[in-house]
């Protein structure tokens, strides 16, 4: 699943870069030198939704999704969604902010790890891991339209 996502991204990237022969050497880092066509936008969106769905499964404690990603988010049988149905009461749009539980200025990813470690008694994950990105994708997608209000408590 992970491998497939990466290939998808690369294909979309190449479609964008067609015709940039002269910049071939920097092809992979060049972005948006040509207008995006519908297929490219769809490829980006599909990739995003793939991550949202993976994140949704992780968030709801799906054992297969955890196995696929090599993570163990909970040892108590509890899942993120048990305290946060439909991602409610997470407020991803309020991060970063001071987080009382940790007594520190925290990002959403820091907070995810706190929940994995404390209430769930699971194994914390790398803040830049694929699983973390998928969880983040799901939480932001679920709260789409909420007004950005960083720092709010």
């Amino acid at each position: 699943m992970k491998g497939m996502s990466k290939r998808y991204l690369l294909a979309a990237g190449c479609a964008v870069c067609v015709g940039l022969g002269v910049f071939g050497a920097v092809q992979e880092s060049a972005a948006h030198k040509d207008p995006h066509d519908a297929a490219t936008l769809k490829a980006f969106q599909d990739l995003f939704m793939e991550q949202v769905i993976l994140g949704d499964r992780l968030f709801h404690g799906d054992p297969e999704a955890q196995q696929e990603m090599g993570v163990n988010l909970s040892k108590t049988g509890m899942a993120c969604a048990m305290c946060h149905p439909i991602s409610s009461d997470i407020h991803p749009h309020e991060f970063p902010k001071f987080q009382e539980q940790m007594s520190e200025f925290a990002t959403l990813r820091d907070m995810v790890n706190w929940c994995i470690e404390k209430p769930n008694e699971g194994e914390v994950i790398d803040v830049n891991s694929e699983a973390m990105k998928a969880l983040e994708a799901y939480m932001y997608w679920s709260n789409k339209g909420s007004v950005l209000d960083p720092g709010r408590h």
Partner: protein
């Protein structure tokens, strides 16, 4: 790097914002005895009932896991049961309001049976929750705790226990779900597959109508149900889908009190003839839903997710000539929020939420 800390304000802000709020200022008058003396007893006066005095206890939503997986819900249920046992002589009965188990698992239900057996000082009545039901369609539940609905009269009050969880429209057969899959989809509060599972259904609606038919219209009725008998938030089945019909059946009766679980939070609502009171879970608190919380609800304070005993507990009810008084036996000093930023609903006003997606197209394996 040094972690940034907010200025220490000596805790004075916390003192002010966490004082216990008394709900009865919104409701009918009446003294709230003891509330000022015992901060842990958070009391509200909810109805005038012309009945003999008695008290009862409510406990629900223990969501027991097998001991091997996690014992925190067992600890909390055990604490509530022990407190009820110790106070048993002050109650005429207790209600267990459903969601004893988490996955309807026979091991979980048996654990619940064993733990409830430790309560011997008070008579027990039971209604099921959805977590108790959808592995075997209530077979083990009914064997252990008897069938529902049921009714009895007690000191001038008609008391009814409903089964609002066992009559879901069939979401499993067409998709070929195994019993475990059926329960799995039911288990997630925000799942998409189990649909509007909460309701009385036609037969039970008829039963309710008949059960009330010989009862004087102005005499008090108390109805216990796992899910609320009005619409709060259908997406989480914080309702019964046939609540309009329920209200029609109840309309002729002037003094109805519905006490319900499932929501894991204080909720309060009134109609012309009825009031609806949501109870705490012993296991964990749900956040308030993004919409639908009744205006009369005084929301509970945001809880500390690092303290497993926070935001949970059980409840007592005193029925007297002056009314029905409900105390949330929450294991913290403050139950209700004063400031909006401390409240579970006030704080959530800035969320725009989308229902989950990964299970929407579930078509079986």
């Amino acid at each position: 790097m040094q972690k940034k800390q907010p200025h220490d304000n000596g805790g004075s802000r916390i003192e002010i914002s966490r004082r216990t709020f008394l709900h009865n200022t919104l409701l009918t008058g009446g003294a709230v005895a003891g509330a000022g003396l015992f901060q842990t007893f958070t009391t509200m006066n909810v109805a005038h009932a012309a009945a003999g005095s008695f008290s009862f206890a409510w406990v629900s939503d223990t969501h027991l896991y097998p001991k091997t997986l996690n014992t925190r819900f067992i600890e909390k249920a055990g604490r509530a049961f022990k407190e009820i046992e110790e106070m048993g002589s002050s109650f005429d009965f207790m209600i267990f309001g459903g969601d004893l188990a988490q996955k309807g698992d026979p091991v979980e239900l048996q654990l619940g049976v064993d733990m409830l057996a430790e309560i011997t000082s008070v008579k027990k009545h039971f209604i099921p929750g959805e977590h108790d039901w959808y592995l075997d369609m209530g077979e083990a539940w009914n064997r252990h705790f008897g069938e529902s609905p049921w009714m009895f009269d007690h000191k001038g009050v008609r008391i009814i226990g409903l089964n609002t969880v066992g009559f879901a429209p069939d979401y499993w057969t067409a998709k070929g779900m195994s019993p475990k899959e059926r329960m799995g989809h039911m288990e997630a509060l925000d799942g998409s597959q189990a649909g509007p599972w909460s309701g009385l259904g036609r037969e039970q609606m008829q039963w309710l109508s008949t059960a009330l038919s010989d009862w004087p219209k102005n005499e008090p009725v108390i109805i216990f149900s796992h899910t609320p008998l009005y619409e709060v938030y259908p997406g989480w089945n914080f309702w019964v889908r046939d609540w309009r019909q329920v209200h029609e059946v109840l309309a002729p009766y002037g003094n109805v009190t519905n006490i319900h679980g499932h929501v894991h939070q204080p909720l309060y609502h009134e109609t012309d003839n009825a009031r609806f009171i949501g109870q705490l879970a012993t296991s964990w608190p749900w956040p308030y839903p993004p919409t639908g919380v009744p205006a009369l609800t005084r929301p509970m304070i945001r809880v500390d997710p690092g303290d497993i005993f926070d935001g949970v507990g059980w409840g007592t009810f005193d029925v007297t000539d002056a009314g029905v008084e409900n105390e949330y036996k929450m294991w913290r000093k403050e139950v209700f929020a004063v400031a909006q930023h401390d409240s579970g609903t006030g704080d959530n006003g800035n969320q725009i939420l989308t229902p989950r997606i990964a299970d929407r197209d579930w078509t079986g394996n």
